[in-house]
C-alpha cells in the first residue's frame, strides 16, 4: 500500500510512518505549487503528530541526462527544504487538546500553525501557506497485489495525518533555472537517541509511491528477504553505492515478475533494466512548466524510458490513480490500462486549500445492558423474538420472510419507520444480530441483542454500531441510544415482578 506500514521497524510509532507524497499545481492558483506528505496509516479521529520527529519535504532541481535504455534523472546538490516540527499537547479553555507546530521554510523563515486548523497558516507576505492535520486518506488500493485479484478499496474510510505546503512557484523554485524537480519526504528524529550506537538519520522516507511495498517487496517474489527497512535507512538522493547493486537487482527481479503477471512479456530485458535504474533513483518527478493532472503521474519517467520527450508535469495529484498507473506500466508497459476494484479514494480531493478531504468519521457504538434477577431463558423468550413487539416505543411491526434474512418494518410511536434484517440468530447462545435496511441516517449499522447468565439471574445486552450518514454523530447517537435505553429499561420493570 503506497508507503503505508512499509517495514517492520516503521510499525513502531505510527506518526513516523509516511504513507504518501504529492506534488501538484495549486487548483486555486496555477502560479502556486503544492507539496504534501501524509503519515500515520489508519489514523483515528484523535490522532496527533509526534513531538520528536521532523517531517521534511525536500526538493532538488533535476536534469534529464539520458533517454531510452540510458534514461537517467540527475538531481542537483542544492536542496529546497520545508521542515515541520510539532509540540507537546496543550489544552484550550474547554480542555480540548490542541497541538501546535512550526514550519521552517527554505529561506529560514518560520511559520507557526495549529494542527487541524483547516484555514492553515500563511506568511505575512502570503507567498507560503501551510496546513497540518487529519484528513481522509487520499490513497486507494483495490487489488490483492500478490494475486492481482480486484477488491474494493482496502483503505476505505481510512484517515491519515496530512502536511501540506503551498507556495509561490516562481519565488520558491525559480523555474527559470530549470523547471524539472524531484521531491522526497522523510521523518527524522529531532535529536539522536542514546550515546550508544549510531542514531538513525531517519525513520522513513518516500519518493514515488510504492517503492517499498510493490517494487522492492513484490509480494509475489517468494523466499526473498524483506529489504524495506534497509531501504528506509538510505539517504534520499544518495543511495549507498555499496548497496545500489543489491537494490538494483531486487528491482530487476521484481519488475521481471511484474511483467509476467499477465502471462505476457511486454518488456525487453534492456527495458526492464532501464526501468529499474530509473526507479532506483527514488524521487517524485514534477515539472512546474507543464500541466500536472490526475493522469500525468509517472509520465515523465515513462516517456523518457520509452525514448521520447515528456509532455506533462508528472507529479502526483490528490486524486491520481497512482497504483493502477504503476501496475499498468509494470505489467503491460501501458498496452492496456488496468483498473482495480475501485475508481477513487473514500473522498476525492477538493479544489480549495488544503485540497485533502475532511476526515472520515469513526464507527459509533451504543452499548447498554441491564441486570435482571430472572433466568436467562425467561428473558430470551421475550427479547429473542425478532418482532421487537416487547419494546415500549414500537407501535407496529410487519415481518417479511422467516429465519435468516427476515425483515422487520417497525413503526415507532413517534412516527419513524425503520427496516431491519435478521443476519444471525443463535438460540442456544441467546443472541441475534441484525442490520439496518432503511430508516436511520447511518451506514454499516449492525445491532446485537444478547442474554447472558449472571449469578442467579442474567444480563441483557444491546449493542449497536453505525457510521452516521450526513448527520452529526450526536444526532444519530441520540436516536439509537433512546431506542436501546428505553427498551432495556422496560425489561427492568417487566421482570421486577417475576424476580
Amino acid at each position: 500500500m503506497s508507503d503505508h506500514v512499509d517495514g517492520p521497524r516503521s510499525i513502531g510509532d505510527p506518526p513516523a510512518d509516511i504513507t504518501d507524497l504529492f506534488a501538484f499545481t495549486s487548483p486555486e492558483n496555477p502560479a502556486r505549487t503544492v507539496l504534501a506528505m501524509c503519515v500515520f496509516p489508519s489514523a483515528g479521529e484523535s490522532a496527533v503528530f509526534s513531538n520528536v520527529i521532523d517531517h521534511k519535504i525536500a526538493v532538488r532541481r533535476v536534469s534529464v541526462t539520458g533517454i531510452g535504455n540510458a534514461a537517467k534523472f540527475q538531481p542537483a546538490d542544492e536542496e529546497i527544504r520545508f521542515t515541520f516540527r510539532f509540540e507537546l499537547l496543550d489544552r484550550d479553555a474547554a480542555g480540548k487538546v490542541i497541538q501546535r507546530g512550526t514550519c521552517v521554510l527554505p529561506d529560514g523563515r518560520t511559520l507557526s500553525l495549529t494542527v487541524n486548523d483547516g484555514k492553515g497558516a500563511s506568511t505575512p507576505e502570503g507567498d507560503v501557506r501551510v496546513f497540518a492535520g487529519l484528513r481522509s486518506d487520499p490513497f486507494y488500493l483495490a487489488w490483492i497485489a500478490a494475486t492481482l485479484e480486484k477488491v474494493p478499496n482496502l483503505l476505505q474510510h481510512d484517515n491519515v495525518l496530512c502536511i501540506v505546503v503551498e507556495f509561490d512557484t516562481r519565488r520558491v523554485l525559480d523555474p527559470e533555472k530549470g523547471s524539472l524537480f524531484g521531491v522526497i519526504a522523510e521523518t527524522v528524529p529531532t535529536e539522536p537517541p542514546g550515546r550508544i550506537g549510531h542514531p538513525p538519520a531517519r525513520i522513513d522516507w518516500i519518493g514515488r509511491p510504492e517503492q517499498t511495498n510493490v517494487r522492492l517487496n513484490n509480494p509475489a517474489l517468494l523466499g526473498v528477504d524483506d529489504i524495506r527497512d534497509l531501504w528506509n535507512q538510505q539517504t534520499p538522493f544518495a543511495i549507498s553505492k555499496e548497496l545500489q547493486p543489491l537494490f538494483l537487482q531486487r528491482l530487476k527481479d521484481s519488475f521481471t515478475n511484474w511483467d509476467m503477471r499477465d502471462g505476457k512479456a511486454d518488456w525487453t530485458p534492456e527495458g526492464l533494466a532501464a526501468n529499474a535504474k530509473v526507479f532506483l533513483d527514488d524521487f517524485l518527478l514534477f515539472d512546474v512548466a507543464k500541466p500536472i493532472t490526475d493522469e500525468s503521474h509517472l509520465e515523465i519517467e515513462k516517456s523518457t524510458i520509452d525514448g521520447r520527450p515528456y509532455q506533462t508535469g508528472g507529479g502526483r495529484t490528490v486524486d491520481a490513480n497512482s497504483i493502477d498507473i504503476l501496475f499498468t506500466w509494470l505489467i503491460n508497459h501501458d498496452r492496456e490500462f488496468l483498473l482495480g476494484g475501485a475508481t477513487g479514494a473514500t473522498k476525492p480531493g477538493t479544489k480549495v486549500f488544503p485540497y485533502f478531504a475532511t476526515p472520515n468519521t469513526e464507527l459509533q457504538t451504543v452499548a447498554e445492558s441491564v441486570e435482571l434477577e430472572v433466568a436467562p431463558d425467561m428473558v430470551w423468550s421475550l427479547i429473542g423474538q425478532f418482532d421487537l413487539m416487547w419494546h415500549p416505543n414500537v407501535a407496529k411491526v410487519n415481518l417479511t420472510g422467516a429465519g435468516i434474512g427476515q425483515l422487520r418494518r417497525i413503526e415507532t410511536r413517534d412516527g419513524r419507520e425503520i427496516v431491519e434484517r435478521l443476519d444471525v440468530v443463535d438460540g442456544a447462545k441467546r443472541f441475534y444480530r441484525y442490520s439496518l435496511v432503511a430508516g436511520v441516517p447511518a451506514s454499516r449499522y449492525a445491532g446485537t441483542i444478547e442474554v447472558k447468565p449472571k449469578g442467579r439471574g442474567c444480563v441483557a445486552e444491546w449493542r449497536v454500531e453505525f457510521l452516521a450518514n450526513n448527520q452529526p454523530n450526536s444526532a444519530v447517537r441520540t436516536v439509537v441510544s433512546t431506542l436501546v435505553k428505553t427498551g432495556l429499561g422496560s425489561l427492568k420493570q417487566r421482570f421486577a415482578a417475576a424476580a
Partner: protein, 375 residues
C-alpha cells in the same frame, strides 16, 4: 544513577497514549467494515494488548474475546484459529491456546507463526525451557530487534541468569531505532523488575531508577507506578506511594487500589484504606469471574495479604499452578501455604501488616511473567 547512560528519546507519552487509543478505535472500525481483511483483526489484537499491558485496560480481554468469537464466525481460515490462540494466550488460557494452534496447524497456518506462538506459551508455562532458550537466542541474534531481545531477557531472568538478562535488556534499550515510547518503557520496566524483585539481593534504588524511566516514557504506565509505589512504601515513604498511584486510579486496576490501601494504612488513614480495599476486593472478584486464569496469580497475592482471605488465596494459587506449573507459580503456592499455616497459628491482624511484605517479591515475579506473556 549517574552511571546509567541517557535513554533514547521518544514521542511524548501522552501523545503516544492518544495515538494508541486513536489507532485502536480505528482498527475496530476497520474490523467492523470487513472482519476478514488481512491484518485487521491482528492489528486490533496488537493494540488491545498494548492497552492492557501499559494502561491496565481491564476491558481489553473482553473485547479481544469478542473479536476472536466474531472472527471465527466469518473467517474459516487458519487466521481465525491463530487469532483465537493469541487471545487465549493473552488471557492465560494456555490449554485453549494450544488447542487453537493445533487447529491452525491442521488448517495450514504458516509454521513460523505457529512456532512463534508456541514459544511464548512454552515460556509462560515454564516447559521445554532449554529449547525455548535456544530458539530465543537464535531469533534475537538474527534480528537484533527489541521485540526479540526482551523475551530473551525475560527468559534469562527466569533461569536466574540475571547478569545476562540485564545485558540483553540494555542491548534492547540502546539498539532501539524508532521513537515509540512503548517498547522503551517496557524494557525499563523489565529492568526495574529484574533489579527490584528477581535478583537474590534486590537493589531498590536501581529498580526505582528504571521504574521512573518507564514512567517518564509513559506517565500512564499503571504497573510501573504500582511497582515504584511499592518501593516507596517499603522505604517508609507512603506519601510518595500515594502520589504515584492517584493519577492512575481511573485505570480500574484493583492492584492500584490495593497498594493505595497499603499506603493509606501506613499513614494511619484506616477509613480511607478500607474503602480502597473494598474497591480492590470487588475489582478482583469481578476480574476473576470473567478471566480467572489471567488474574489468578495477582489475586492470590492480594487475598494472601491485604485481601485477608487465605482460603481463596490458596485456591487461586493452586489454579495458577494447574494452569502453568512454573517454578514461580509453585513457589507462590508454597509461600501462601506457609502464610496460611502461620495465620492459623496466630489469628490476628498481622494479615494487614504483611500486605506488601513477604509476598511482594513473589507477586512481582508473577507480574513479570504476566507481562512477558502479554507480549
Amino acid at each position: 544513577m549517574e552511571r546509567e547512560p541517557p535513554c533514547p528519546s521518544a514521542t511524548d507519552g501522552e501523545i503516544a497514549a492518544i495515538n494508541l487509543e486513536s489507532a485502536r478505535r480505528r482498527a475496530w472500525t476497520r474490523f467492523a467494515q470487513d472482519a476478514c481483511l488481512l491484518g485487521v483483526a491482528e492489528a486490533v489484537v496488537d493494540q488491545e494488548r498494548l492497552a492492557a499491558q501499559f494502561f491496565s485496560d481491564l476491558d481489553a480481554l473482553d473485547r479481544l474475546e469478542a473479536l476472536a468469537a466474531q472472527l471465527a464466525l466469518v473467517d474459516a481460515s487458519s487466521r481465525a484459529a491463530l487469532v483465537q490462540a493469541e487471545v487465549a494466550s493473552t488471557a492465560h488460557r494456555f490449554a485453549d491456546a494450544r488447542g487453537h494452534l493445533s487447529r491452525a496447524t491442521l488448517m495450514g497456518a504458516r509454521r513460523e507463526e505457529i512456532e512463534r506462538q508456541s514459544l511464548s506459551i512454552d515460556q509462560a508455562c515454564g516447559v521445554k525451557l532449554d529449547a525455548v532458550l535456544a530458539a530465543r537466542q537464535q531469533v534475537a541474534a538474527a534480528s537484533g530487534r527489541l521485540e526479540d531481545l526482551v523475551p530473551l531477557g525475560a527468559l534469562l531472568a527466569d533461569l536466574e541468569r540475571f547478569a545476562e538478562a540485564d545485558a540483553v535488556y540494555r542491548q534492547a534499550l540502546f539498539s532501539y531505532r524508532d521513537v515509540s515510547p512503548f517498547p522503551l518503557a517496557w524494557v525499563c520496566f523489565q529492568l526495574g523488575m529484574l533489579w527490584g524483585e528477581l535478583v537474590p539481593v534486590p537493589d531498590p534504588k536501581l529498580a526505582a531508577f528504571w521504574y521512573r524511566r518507564a514512567i517518564a516514557y509513559l506517565p500512564g504506565y499503571v504497573k510501573a507506578r504500582v511497582h515504584l509505589a511499592e518501593i516507596c512504601a517499603s522505604q517508609d515513604r507512603p506519601g510518595d506511594a500515594e502520589a504515584l498511584l492517584m493519577p492512575v486510579l481511573s485505570s480500574r486496576d484493583p492492584e492500584v487500589r490495593w497498594r493505595l490501601a497499603d499506603a493509606l494504612i501506613a499513614q494511619e488513614r484506616f477509613q480511607e484504606a478500607e474503602t480502597q480495599l473494598d474497591a480492590a476486593r470487588s475489582g478482583f472478584d469481578e476480574l476473576l469471574q470473567r478471566h480467572l486464569l489471567a488474574f489468578a496469580d495477582h489475586a492470590a497475592e492480594f487475598y494472601a495479604g491485604s485481601g485477608n482471605d487465605f482460603r481463596r488465596a490458596v485456591e487461586l494459587a493452586r489454579a495458577n499452578v494447574a494452569n502453568r506449573p512454573t517454578r514461580r507459580a509453585v513457589e507462590q503456592a508454597q509461600a501462601i501455604a506457609v502464610q496460611v499455616d502461620e495465620a492459623a497459628a496466630s489469628r490476628s491482624v498481622r494479615s494487614m501488616q504483611c500486605a506488601g511484605g513477604v509476598s511482594r517479591r513473589l507477586a512481582a515475579r508473577c507480574a513479570a511473567q504476566h507481562d512477558q506473556v502479554i507480549r
